[in-house]
Symmetry: C2
DNA sequence: TCGTGTGAAGTGATTCACAGCG
DNA sequence: CGCTGTGAATCACTTCACACGA
């Protein structure tokens, strides 16, 4: 709800800073993302008083605040379970490190890649999962294994004491309440698009 | 809102069919996805009367209905703009084809890969984009180019007459109203997870 | 004057509860 | 009896409108 938009505000704010802007108003920020100015103000005011009446929001200040709210002002240590096509692509993606997500270990059952490094990240045998996660203080896991193995992978991560999981496999995982979960299903996204295109008459 | 859950129902229904189930009740389906039974019924009844009082929903019947609603009962012809790590991973992903999304062409500026095929899909020079899209009747595009090039890629797709875009680049695209748009930002997803973990006390 | 923060009003989505059907 | 479909009630989110600060 609110939080999902904070990430987007953050993205736009970084863009503004790159362009040399130092302040921005709620209506400008809103226009960039297709939301109303009132929405932007409500979202931001929900977590504190970050604006300056008559001025707007100072970009660098607001970036710092949002990062603090999201918890991305500190570093998160991440592991990847499954080094197939998707896993490999994500390991090579630079964007995570830029936002403070440091992938330090990957796991896969394929003996041909165990022991190798991808983009400097070592690939381990899954039977070392518990040890590696504890020794390296890994907090988050990304699951990119095939659907049938995803629940098992998740169970192992939970058993090793992980705090949160991003699941890319197209299945619903069941996890204990205390573990955070975000699901990303690319097929679902395409289906959404198909619907929105097939019913363009109604709404965006 | 409703539609985003339809995809998930569909996913669970396919799973049920694989397990040999022929009918399912709203409460069973809801439990699998963590929503209430009333929610499931409201969602499904919104598009028609698919249930059988006293019985539940017939899985195969409901699958067909949801596919028809989403527009995935027919095939969609898709192109990929950007054949870097992410693009390559998605080209190799089998899940799209299974749900009726057929990727028939890819585009990239790297001369070393133009003219090659990846998973049977030819990689073209972007200057052929308009022609290829028209000749092959391509309807949807997936953008996996670096952020600074994403808007340009989107503009070209729109100019070529595409109906919808999935954008994986971490920028907000501005498109004409008539073109469908779904954005997937992996960093945003991780930020969501970070927040949910950092504030586990409040809610899931 | 410009632009925030915020009650109040409005809109939309979710849950409740139950009539009705197989 | 089990389970759907659905009005009514509740809850959440969004927009409006304006007081107030720089």
């Amino acid at each position: 709800m609110v939080v999902s938009r904070l990430s987007l505000y953050l993205r736009e704010l970084r863009q503004l800073v790159r362009e040399g802007r130092s302040t921005v108003s709620s209506s400008q920020l809103g226009k960039m993302l297709g939301v109303t100015d009132a929405q932007v103000r409500k979202d931001l005011a929900y977590f504190g008083h970050f604006g300056h009446p008559g001025i707007g929001y100072r970009c660098d200040e607001l970036i710092a605040e949002i990062r603090r709210i999201l918890g991305t002002d500190r570093q998160w240590i991440v592991t990847m379970i499954g080094v197939g096509n998707m896993g490999r692509a994500l390991l090579r993606y630079k964007g995570f490190a830029e936002q403070g997500f440091r992938i330090v270990a990957a796991f896969d059952t394929d003996p041909r890649i165990i022991g190798t490094k991808i983009e400097g990240i070592p690939v381990y045998n899954p039977d070392q999962l518990r040890d590696v996660i504890r020794q390296q203080r890994i907090q988050l896991g990304m699951i990119t294994v095939p659907a049938p193995q995803a629940q098992h992978a998740a169970d192992q991560l939970v058993a090793a004491g992980i705090a949160g999981i991003v699941n890319f496999a197209p299945v619903t995982l069941s996890l204990p309440e205390k573990v955070g979960l975000v699901g990303v299903d690319l097929t679902t996204e395409l289906e959404q698009l198909a619907f929105s295109v097939a019913n363009r008459n109604s709404k965006r």
